[in-house]
């Protein structure tokens, strides 16, 4: 693009708004071009939504196929081992398994769209109800963990890059190394032993203490938020004392990842020419780093954060098990071991949809944050 750019606008200043040079977009939009710019935006947004819909459909296709190829007879799971042939056949037909495969898929898609994932054989509840119960627990933990990871990891990575080789950089390096190499269940157990068992500073496993169990009316399913809505400070404190350790652990692991990525993004920006320009202007190093370089890493950084958040939304099984945290990771794992395919696939679709949603959000932010995007 650079060739035509340089040739077209270079000598004569901006080309007049109403006569853009042949097949080069006009530089610096005139007001009259704003409509066109909006239309272009709308069209690309439409494309984005379409590609998301296709992604979701692909996800459903995959979960559907997995459901069919698993060596688990869905009918048998429903009617039980001792059903008669007639009972079996009736259930077989009721589940639509005698229909052509594409009809089965359409039926599956329409069920999922209605939020119907079938019944979980291990809990006996509809899978959607189970998910409503377990997913908020994971979301709460993942959000808090990511918050810690971002609030500590981003500044740490930025400072480590700005003072490359300094003591903060060294500390960040060690922290990340430990974060990458330490098994989380071990850290979790040690943390429980120390802070709960010995010091008694925090609540033990689970989301709540026994006295508060079920005391707060469920609104969002996230106890921290629900207890705030109910104005119940005791319940809030109790829930916080339970979540603080697992959230810190997840936060530590996401911090390790986020700070490393932030650092390498920043190093790349800090060696670029516009940073020298900013220094030549006489700006303070803080303004050079945060006002110039940092603004340029926001787009890739958001993708990294979204990925790390998505990873935590899958439910970190080990953390959930160590802390008896009734989240989606545990739920899916148990369902998998029990051959409870409805629950497994329902959970998978939910997590997959979250990934797609996060992707959408980071895509939209990219359009907002980078003027070159549209």
């Amino acid at each position: 693009m650079s060739q035509t750019d340089t040739a077209s606008g270079g000598g004569q200043g901006l080309p007049p708004a109403n006569t853009p040079p042949a097949n080069t977009p006009p530089k610096a939009e005139a007001p009259s071009h704003r409509g066109a710019r909006l239309r272009r935006r709308a069209r690309s947004l439409g494309g984005l939504v379409l590609s998301l819909a296709l992604t979701l459909l692909g996800l459903l296709l995959i979960t559907f196929i997995i459901g069919r190829v698993m060596p688990i007879d869905p009918v048998l799971k429903v009617v039980g081992e001792r059903a008669t042939q007639a009972q079996y056949d009736a259930a077989y037909q009721a589940m639509g398994l005698d229909k052509p495969i594409w009809q089965q898929f359409l039926r599956y898609v329409s069920e999922v769209l209605r939020g119907d994932f079938g019944r979980s054989i291990s809990t006996g509840h509809p899978v959607s109800e189970d998910l409503k119960r377990v997913f908020p627990a994971t979301v709460e933990l993942a959000t808090l963990g990511t918050l810690i990871g971002v609030c500590v990891g981003v500044p740490l990575g930025v400072i480590a890059a700005a003072r490359r080789g300094g003591w903060i950089d060294q500390i960040a390096r060690v922290l990340a190394l430990v974060g990458y190499s330490m098994p989380i269940f071990w850290l979790g157990l040690m943390g429980l032993l120390l802070f709960y068992g010995i010091l008694g500073w925090i609540g033990g496993p689970g989301r709540q203490g026994i006295i508060y169990d079920g005391m707060v009316p469920t609104v969002t399913g996230m106890i921290l938020i629900d207890s705030l809505i109910a104005g119940d400070w005791g319940a809030f404190r109790d829930a916080f004392s339970h979540i603080v350790l697992p959230a810190s652990l997840l936060g530590y692991f996401s911090l390790a990842y986020i700070s490393r990525m932030t650092r390498s993004f920043m190093l790349e920006q800090l060696s670029s020419e516009y940073v020298t320009t900013a220094r030549v202007k006489g700006l303070s190093e803080a303004r050079v780093v945060w006002g110039h370089a940092f603004r340029n890493i926001l787009v890739p950084l958001i993708t990294v954060i979204a990925l790390s958040f998505g990873g935590l939304l899958e439910g970190s099984v080990l953390t959930e098990i160590v802390f008896s945290w009734p989240g989606i990771g545990q739920y899916i794992t148990k369902a998998l071991l029990a051959g409870d395919m409805n629950a497994v696939l329902g959970g998978t679709v939910l997590v997959g949809a979250c990934f797609v949603g996060l992707n959408l959000i980071s895509d939209l932010l990219y359009r907002v944050l980078d003027p070159r995007a549209s």
Partner: protein, 288 residues
């Protein structure tokens, strides 16, 4: 009268695995309110000289000099805070490629006003007026529109004029132009240079014009320093380039195509090891 900028025995060195590497090895010159060209091949230390003057050689690079004075004030290795007060306000620099030297996610207006407001502490409105005035001064026809545009929305030639407007807004006394046109299309090169030249002369500034291009330097400068391997090998008035005595300068001149005296083949510069270190006829006889 003391010169604007006075540099003696400037050295810039970098530690490397195989010992220290000297990028600049004892450069000396004075700059008045004039246009000083610096010519030399790639890696000869031209940019490093400019950066050393601005205090922008990052560690582990080391800068030493017997003297580095701005208007009689020593500026070598000043504390960072004092150096920042000089940068932009009294010495400024335009770099090679506006595509990379403008911040892609900040509007052009903000980038211009930012430095100006820092050094003058004026209101946003006054800074905006100044920025528009500067954009007009570099012959941008539609300054209001460009003010709100982003760097990717302007062409290379305009980008470089914007850089010049930005760097001259706080009224520095010295401008270092580090190959300001080598990334530009040939057709806009001269225009950008003429605009820069006019502004620099109208303001009575000192200009250090770094370039590969002897012809360009001869046209736009009063005096020329020829650098080779981190040293100044020759210094002479721009109109006097033909009379260069140093074989390196003569070699450079002979490898230029000439309209008045066409030749079948341009001669290729043959470098000699002795140029690196031999004592040259110093422009400051008797030492400094």
């Amino acid at each position: 009268m003391s010169p604007l900028l006075s540099v003696r025995n400037l050295r810039v060195s970098f530690p490397t695995r195989s010992g220290t590497f000297d990028a600049v090895r004892g450069v000396s010159f004075d700059l008045g309110r004039e246009r000083l060209g610096v010519v030399g091949e790639s890696g000869s230390g031209k940019s490093m000289t400019g950066r050393a003057i601005l205090g922008l050689v990052r560690p582990p690079g080391r800068v030493t000099a017997d003297r580095m004075e701005l208007d009689g004030q020593p500026i070598l290795n000043l504390p960072e805070r004092q150096m920042r007060a000089l940068r932009g306000a009294r010495i400024s620099m335009v770099m090679q490629d506006p595509k990379f030297s403008l911040n892609p996610v900040m509007t052009i207006g903000r980038q211009i006003t930012e430095g100006y407001r820092l050094h003058t502490r004026t209101t946003p409105q006054a800074a905006r007026d100044k920025a528009l005035e500067m954009l007009r001064a570099v012959q941008i026809r539609d300054p209001e529109r460009v003010f709100d545009a982003y760097p990717h929305e302007v062409s290379g030639g305009m980008g470089q004029r914007i850089m010049i407007a930005m760097m001259l807004a706080p009224d520095p006394e010295i401008l270092i132009a580090d190959e300001p046109t080598s990334a530009l299309d040939v057709s806009v090169r001269n225009e950008v240079l003429r605009i820069m030249d006019k502004l620099v002369r109208d303001r009575g500034m000192g200009l250090i014009f770094i370039s590969h291009d002897l012809n360009l330097v001869a046209e736009f400068c009063d005096r020329v320093l020829i650098m080779y391997a981190g040293r100044v090998v020759e210094e002479l008035p721009a109109h006097d380039l033909k009379n260069a005595r140093h074989p390196y300068t003569q070699g450079l001149l002979n490898s230029l195509p000439r309209l008045d005296h066409p030749v079948e083949r341009l001669s290729v510069l043959q470098r000699q090891d002795s140029w690196r270190d031999e004592e040259i006829a110093t422009p400051f006889p008797g030492g400094l």
